[in-house]
Symmetry: C2
Subunit: 380 residues, 2 copies
């Protein structure tokens, strides 16, 4: 494997509902990311989209976006791992460029959740038998939060700083869905109970979005970008598919294994990670990832929020541009937003949300209720 760098990024503002279709959203960020890398042609396009087959009646999305972007002819494939699909597409681009099968690749994530019913479509990431028994992605996360709170004796407002910090950071991110929203602890605690004990502000929103990045060999990165960022490692791990089959439902084994592999490949230690873009689709997931990745002991992750150590000036900043909670979680696009944000942080362009002296950033994507976890570590 030759080293691989990110040399272009693009994001559109996350929105509650866009007028454009999947193909327009996708091609816009593809062209913008290519323009930011100063390239007119790439060898390959890898696409991430989770719900288009159901919500827009459209499969075969990679070739569609390639065509709409004026790139018909090139390799174009779609990669799926439920809600971790964006990171899966990034990984495939990493393999394609790293293995010399492609010199330039664009990775695009797009999702349009504003049409149709997203939750039943998203719940197909769970075992269909559980869905037949009435489970949804929200009910599974509600179960985890309830069990966690009981086992570790967490007060009702124990998770409240996860959304509070995310929303505060989103206020300085022009691409965040909730950039104009002010969220205080009492806003969270008074928000609607969606699925007990999950309140509305414990959940990431249904929204539309698209983001893309361009990859090149690291040795050519400076030709494309004044501020390239290296992909130091890429790793995927899975867990037992159903939460109920795991020895401990509160432990994200796939998140731990994926992080351990990523630390090893990147040749870094946990202490070297300057910030961590977690997959905070639900507050409980952010908490459990902090534990699995080694930033807190089991059952202690929520203290990192309670003690505000997850803030921009804390010892392990998370959701630095708003996270899934407040930037928004347009499923297939989310990981590409995370990458784009990490690139801003590592190149000193994160504005008021800059994590000082950040050199190494980590991100995780979670598919299903902890079943598939993909970790990337980026560095300058």
């Amino acid at each position: 494997m030759r080293p691989v760098s990110i040399v272009g990024t693009a994001q559109i503002p996350v929105q509650a509902a866009t007028q454009q279709g999947l193909r327009q959203l996708g091609s816009q960020v593809v062209r913008d990311a290519m323009e930011s890398a100063g390239v007119e042609r790439v060898d390959a396009l890898f696409a991430s989209n989770m719900l288009g087959d159901e919500l827009q009646g459209q499969k075969h999305i990679a070739a569609l976006i390639a065509d709409e972007s004026g790139l018909a002819g090139i390799e174009a494939l779609q990669v799926q791992a439920a809600m971790a699909s964006g990171s899966a597409a990034l990984r495939m681009g990493f393999l394609a460029v790293g293995s010399r099968e492609a010199d330039l690749a664009v990775i695009v994530g797009v999702e349009k959740m504003s049409e149709g019913l997203a939750m039943p479509a998203m719940s197909k990431a769970l075992d269909a038998r559980e869905v037949e028994d009435g489970a949804t992605l929200i009910s599974k996360n509600a179960d985890l939060m309830r069990i966690y709170r009981k086992r570790y004796d967490v007060p009702e407002d124990g998770f409240v700083n996860f959304p509070v910090v995310a929303h505060r950071n989103a206020r300085n991110n022009p691409n965040a869905l909730f950039k104009d929203m002010s969220v205080k602890p009492r806003t969270v605690m008074k928000s609607r109970m969606v699925h007990d004990p999950l309140r509305l502000l414990d959940c990431s929103p249904i929204c539309d979005g698209a983001a893309a990045v361009v990859l090149s060999p690291a040795e050519e990165a400076r030709a494309h970008s004044p501020h390239p960022v290296r992909i130091l490692s890429s790793s995927v791990a899975t867990d037992r598919f159903r939460v109920g089959d795991r020895p401990n439902p509160l432990w994200l084994e796939a998140a731990q294994q994926s992080a351990i592999k990523a630390y090893r490949q990147a040749n870094v230690h946990r202490e070297d990670i300057d910030f961590f873009e977690v997959h905070d689709a639900f507050s409980i997931m952010a908490c459990m990832q902090l534990e699995a990745a080694g930033f807190a002991d089991q059952g202690q992750g929520w203290h990192l929020a309670e003690e505000k150590r997850i803030e921009l000036r804390g010892d392990i900043p998370i959701t630095t541009m708003g996270g899934l909670k407040a930037r928004g979680h347009p499923i297939g696009a989310t990981a590409l937003y995370q990458v784009s944000e990490i690139v801003l942080q590592l190149t000193g362009r994160a504005g008021k949300n800059q994590v000082r002296g950040a050199k190494i950033g980590m991100m995780q994507s979670v598919g299903g209720a902890g079943t598939t976890v993909i970790t990337h570590i980026l560095g300058v």
Copy 2:
């Protein structure tokens, strides 16, 4: 890239309708392929399935099959390119092993089309706008056949030997759906008109199936298999998404470009190809691929069938074990059947259908109406 070999294969008999679900079908061939390679563990699983989200309400299929196979923990991702998904998954495994990110990978394809309505789900490989205008995958192929016949003055029975040869070869393939069916030219011409001018026997069947292969570095292949087969090249190309946007609707530009890249990477010439597993979902597609890959001039591909040059003893044998037409076309699994059959041919284990002295075999998968084409060349 280090060279990559196929060291294990498995297929279940293609069936009109299986009792088992996707997870059982998938895990059965995963375990069988691993057993045939003599391995108890792999580093990664790449899965192909096109319709499970719609027909079985199940996404996230790679992690599900990994778990059901007793492999929870490993990397597991799904790759999609509509009907070319099986080849897309094979390519991802090729990249993972070739780039040294994995030492052993299993590629599994599974499809269960016997539940629900497959054609509307399959038509999502087309532009949703065309589908809204009434197009289906079958109507698009019927259009191509009609235009082709008219432009090149092909008699009504001009394509008849495509299904006749495929069905004859299927009779010696115990895994073929139509292993017991005798098809003569008049059987084809008397078969039901499905969508004028496509008759039933011009179309591949709706069916269930699963197949898998195990990949290892070529240098370690002999440790796993007495008859390893090398992946000499892997390439993807796309065309304009809609047939109507192409300068010539009868020319499969993506098939040509993908084949040219594959010949170059494998360092072979068209004349070196001993047989060609085409994507004969419809007779017209087989014909157009023969032209695009250089085996016939434009408008002349049907003569290869008419003159029986596509038979096992002909100069370019195709569908040697029955092809999509007669072995069956369980979409996501099809390319893995093709690979398994090529391995049998190249290692002299194809029984009565053995292509004599075969050293190099080629396969193509087509997504949509010629939009995505993936070519692999295998050799011993």
